[in-house]
Symmetry: C2
Subunit: 224 residues, 2 copies
């Protein structure tokens, strides 16, 4: 699941590990404080699988496919010069990763094929929804409806539990609150689903133009 999160972030913008961690915390909120002991091995794995490539592992400019001097001292000089322009940041000795075409394929594959059992459902769904803008409208709808079905099932088992007479006060309160929370979640999903339906009124069996891939481009280059 971490792989999915990483690919999702790199989908938007090339970045280095340390920064990925920050965005995971500040933007996604999931993986509140993912540890480097998870993150870096994950990046290595993805690189080995050719899902990402290192486009810069030292000082050069982060511009895509822009060749730069191999001179280490030259790079250093360049960075010193650049530092004057940017008050903070712009460190050296970092590896900037970029997602590959294969990585993009893997991303989409993970996005709708993963949902492995044993995984935290809520987290898994949250992660997918956070990247929902990158997927086709009908896949988005399917994601929402799968989640809705999941919650409906939970509601059913909660009600069975609540109907038992063996629960003590605290457990009963817990179950009742859980039921309310689930109902709240479902109502929210229903609003999202309706809003999706309004955006794409007719599902139209096949040959649906698969979302022209603009709007995804990196809006900012190397800006700190």
């Amino acid at each position: 699941m971490l792989d999915l999160a990483i690919l999702g972030l790199l989908h938007e913008q090339e970045q280095h590990g340390y920064e990925i961690r920050r965005r995971l915390r500040d933007e996604l909120g999931l993986f509140a404080n993912i540890s480097f002991g998870s993150l870096y091995p994950a990046l290595s794995r993805l690189e080995a699988a050719h899902a990402v490539t290192v486009i810069e592992s030292s000082g050069g400019a982060a511009a895509p496919s822009m060749p730069f001097t191999g001179s280490l001292s030259g790079e250093r000089a360049g960075l010193r010069a650049r530092r004057a322009g940017t008050p903070r940041g712009t460190k050296r000795s970092r590896k900037v990763y970029r997602i590959t075409d294969q990585g993009r394929r893997l991303f989409e594959q993970l996005l709708d094929a993963d949902e492995r059992p044993g995984a935290d459902d809520a987290r898994s769904f949250g992660l997918r929804l956070a990247f929902a803008r990158h997927i086709a409208p009908q896949a988005r709808l399917a994601l929402l409806e799968r989640r809705r079905a999941q919650l409906t099932r939970r509601l059913a088992t909660d009600q069975v539990r609540a109907s038992g007479d063996t629960l003590d006060v605290y457990t009963r309160s817990l179950v009742e609150h859980s039921t309310e929370a689930t109902e709240h979640d479902i109502a929210w999903l229903d609003r999202l689903i309706e809003s999706e339906r309004l955006k794409q009124p007719a599902p139209r069996s096949e040959n649906r133009e698969p979302h022209t891939g603009d709007a995804v481009t990196a809006t900012k280059g190397t800006s700190p």
Copy 2:
């Protein structure tokens, strides 16, 4: 955390592994479908730590320091007789566990000392609340208030996230919904806390000011 759940169930009634799993699923709801690959090793660990003892293992040996007939056929006959009384179940070759005094101590210790980082907060709290009736009133109150503080912190970070301008539609919706859910949780906790305070009006161990003045929301009555 599984250890805590097991001890909590055995706290109430001696049982064998298979049955513990069923109660974990049907009563607690947490550990929806704990696997035997987790459960049995956990029981073995607890036994090795003298937190539980095997009080009956119908197949033959393994009863600790309690001698009984070594006759296999004898055991079988006894079980056959017992089966007639109970229409289903009452299998043989199972190990019935009982919690020990040491286990009870461990239980209480886990109950308020655990809360390890990296654990699923909600699940951990739910588990503790499910066993809340076994702990001292002030410990119960402390549990609720710790959880409340936790959720308040979450609310704060969610609000920071929401105030950023980089979030896309779906992520924003997610954060907003998460905020609502957390507020809902806090309101529920406040109801529980108030009801606890009513049950034990004056904590007054020494320097305790029963900080009133909360009276937060409480939109709906405690009993639906």
